[in-house]
């Protein structure tokens, strides 16, 4: 769609105090203009290289610390062929193990993405081999019938595990760098949002017919808004976006509650902007200003009325009160970060098929008060097949399109991704991926 108006988004130039999120634009990395080969999305060989050199090397997000409040509480997540068991220890630390019994290879805990309450120990359902919370053997029935004795591993295979930002992370790489080093700029940028104050209000997994990177790419650029999400042209500026690439991770800052320069203000306030105003406690019907001023006025209103509503925005700058500070934590976490909520996607590869993936969707919201936070009941996780569940209009639009992208990638008539400046994060993501695969 053609650009119809000149529009320059006014952005805050200073961070909000010493702990605020940095706002300055990062230097633009020079990454060339090469085509990105489509085989990355379609080849089994590439998929196996990713397993060997990426998934088994990086830090991966598992769950939330609050999913494991008491010793013995545990949680099972999956990556590729691996099932991972996370356990709250008696000393309140969290440990990660391969979720597999050392006897005959049975999966030890049969659950997925659903917090499990305090276990004293973990007993394999096959032959009752029992493990302590620290993964060590507690009981091997009829041990005397094993002339070789117990396995010399002393229990479950342990993995690096650490926490940041209310989330629990693990790595399949025993020699992985410390999580803090891996995350780089991320804690400094996102700590001001205090994710630990937000509660999980929706969690589900959908199997999508596309490579996991097709999904990461789709959420790493806003060039596709005009094609896939035209309704968002009345909600955000899809053109004047600040794109910042850091070492492994990247972000873009996208103004919400504004109109795209591709459209002209209608006589009324667009419905999605009204939703924002109402969310902030404003009455759209009482708004006398121009549609073009709503973003700034919502910022002002939230700054003034936030404390009274029990919302602590003290570490967030004005832009953060309306805009999407959108982060990609390499390799597979997409965070749509807002003052009052955070919509997170975790993109996982299918264990066997490069044409499939698992899309994990999480919605975190700031509760209205502490009481609500304490009383909050975590929603049950569910896994769906493509098309069986709605993820809201915007994600549905992406989900509808992605299988077509994957099919096209497999065509002999397609060579690879032809990437423009608006898709800089896509190129940066691929550059980081290349760096891992060339190691």
């Amino acid at each position: 769609m053609k650009i119809k108006r000149n529009q320059k988004i006014e952005r805050t130039s200073k961070k909000q105090g010493p702990n605020g999120t940095p706002v300055k634009a990062a230097p633009k990395p020079k990454m060339g203009t090469q085509i990105i080969p489509k085989e990355r999305y379609t080849s089994s060989d590439y998929m196996h290289q990713e397993w060997d050199k990426l998934w088994t090397k990086v830090w991966l997000l598992a769950c939330r610390e609050e999913d494991l409040p008491e010793p013995g509480d545990h949680y099972v997540t999956e990556i590729g062929v691996e099932s991972i068991l996370l356990v709250r220890q008696k000393d309140m630390s969290i440990r990660a193990f391969y979720n597999v019994c050392q006897h005959r290879g049975n999966k030890l805990v049969h659950s997925f993405e659903q917090p499990q309450e305090a276990a004293q120990s973990f007993k394999c359902k096959y032959h009752d081999w029992e493990y302590g919370l620290d993964g060590g053997f507690v009981d091997i029935p009829d041990l005397e019938t094993f002339p070789q004795g117990a396995p010399d591993c002393s229990g479950l295979a342990s993995l690096p595990c650490d926490t940041w930002g209310s989330f629990v992370w693990f790595s399949l790489n025993p020699d992985v760098e410390p999580l803090k080093d891996y995350l780089g700029i991320i804690p400094e940028h996102l700590n001001p949002y205090h994710f630990e104050r937000m509660v999980l209000t929706k969690t589900l997994t959908v199997e999508w017919d596309c490579n996991w990177k097709a999904s990461v790419d789709a959420f790493n650029e806003s060039y596709h808004v005009q094609g896939i999400h035209p309704q968002l042209l009345y909600y955000l500026d899809d053109k004047d976006i600040q794109i910042d690439c850091y070492e492994k991770h990247n972000r873009y800052l996208i103004a919400f509650s504004v109109l795209s320069p591709r459209v002209i203000a209608p006589g009324e306030i667009p419905a999605p902007i009204k939703v924002v105003m109402k969310g902030a406690g404003m009455d759209p019907a009482a708004y006398e200003g121009s549609v073009y001023d709503i973003r700034k006025d919502v910022q002002k209103f939230k700054r003034e009325n936030g404390p009274e509503q029990g919302k602590d925005y003290s570490e967030l700058n004005d832009d953060q009160l309306t805009d999407d500070y959108h982060y990609m934590i390499f390799p597979n976490i997409t965070m749509n970060v807002h003052a009052d909520d955070m919509m997170m996607f975790r993109q996982r590869p299918h264990p066997e098929d490069p044409n499939k993936m698992f899309f994990d969707y999480y919605m975190y919201e700031l509760p209205d008060n502490e009481f609500d936070q304490e009383e909050h009941i975590r929603p049950k996780h569910k896994t769906y097949k493509y098309g069986d569940v709605s993820l809201g209009l915007v994600i549905n639009q992406d989900a509808y399109n992605l299988p077509h992208v994957q099919k096209g990638m497999n065509s002999a008539g397609y060579k690879g991704l032809w990437i423009g400046d608006q898709e800089l994060r896509v190129r940066h993501f691929h550059k980081t991926l290349e760096d891992y695969l060339e190691k």
Binding site: L233, Y234, P266, E268, P284, A286
Partner: protein, 253 residues
Amino acid sequence: MDLGLRNKNVLITGSTAGIGRRIANLFADEGANVAICSRTPESVNKAVKEISLTADGRIIGAPCNIKDKESYESWVENMVEQLGGVDIFIPNVSAGGGNDSERNWWNNFEVDVLGTVRGVEAVLPHMEEKGGAITMICTTAAIETFMEPQPYNALKASLITYSKQLSQAHGKDNIRVNSVSPGPIHFEGGAWEMIKTSNQKFFEITEKTHALKRMGTPEEVANCVVFLSSDASSWVTGVNLVVDGGYTKRVQF
């Protein structure tokens, strides 16, 4: 057919954009003197300049907040004085649709209803001697169920009744009062342009609902407003002219 609009003095509220602007353009094309208003001086000045480019008559305007009784009444007096009288009045400005809170009812009451009533009462004394025409802008949302129960629909309906009764009361002074009820009208910067972009399916279904299988244009509404307000329709008063390409389905006996 001569519409007889040359040198007629026309006041239009809310006339710098949309349907109101097209009405102003057409009156100007027909040689009338036109007075316009909107909330900001910038938009008034810009519109006056643009309309003047092709106009034979005088084009004037001033900013005015329709919700503010004094500001509105002094705009009417000021324009009437500058033009040397008023022959035609088009109360066009509207607060539009919306159902966010009770505030919407006040908005539509203040802008659509009082914005018409106060203007009518201010122009009537100037029309009593020589006669005149008042054409109100209503909507098909007033005569058939549309979208949702909302103040815009209900309060626009009140104007249809008001215009009919005015036409009976002031016919003796040769003042004609009519209303025009447009259906969905599509133009850049309008609500239907937003719907076309955001929800193309609904837009297309709405298009097909019209007997004429498309959306109306603001020019097509302006044609009817200008005709009803002109001497060419001197024998028409008290009607509500539905201009909707067959969007509504009722039979108007």
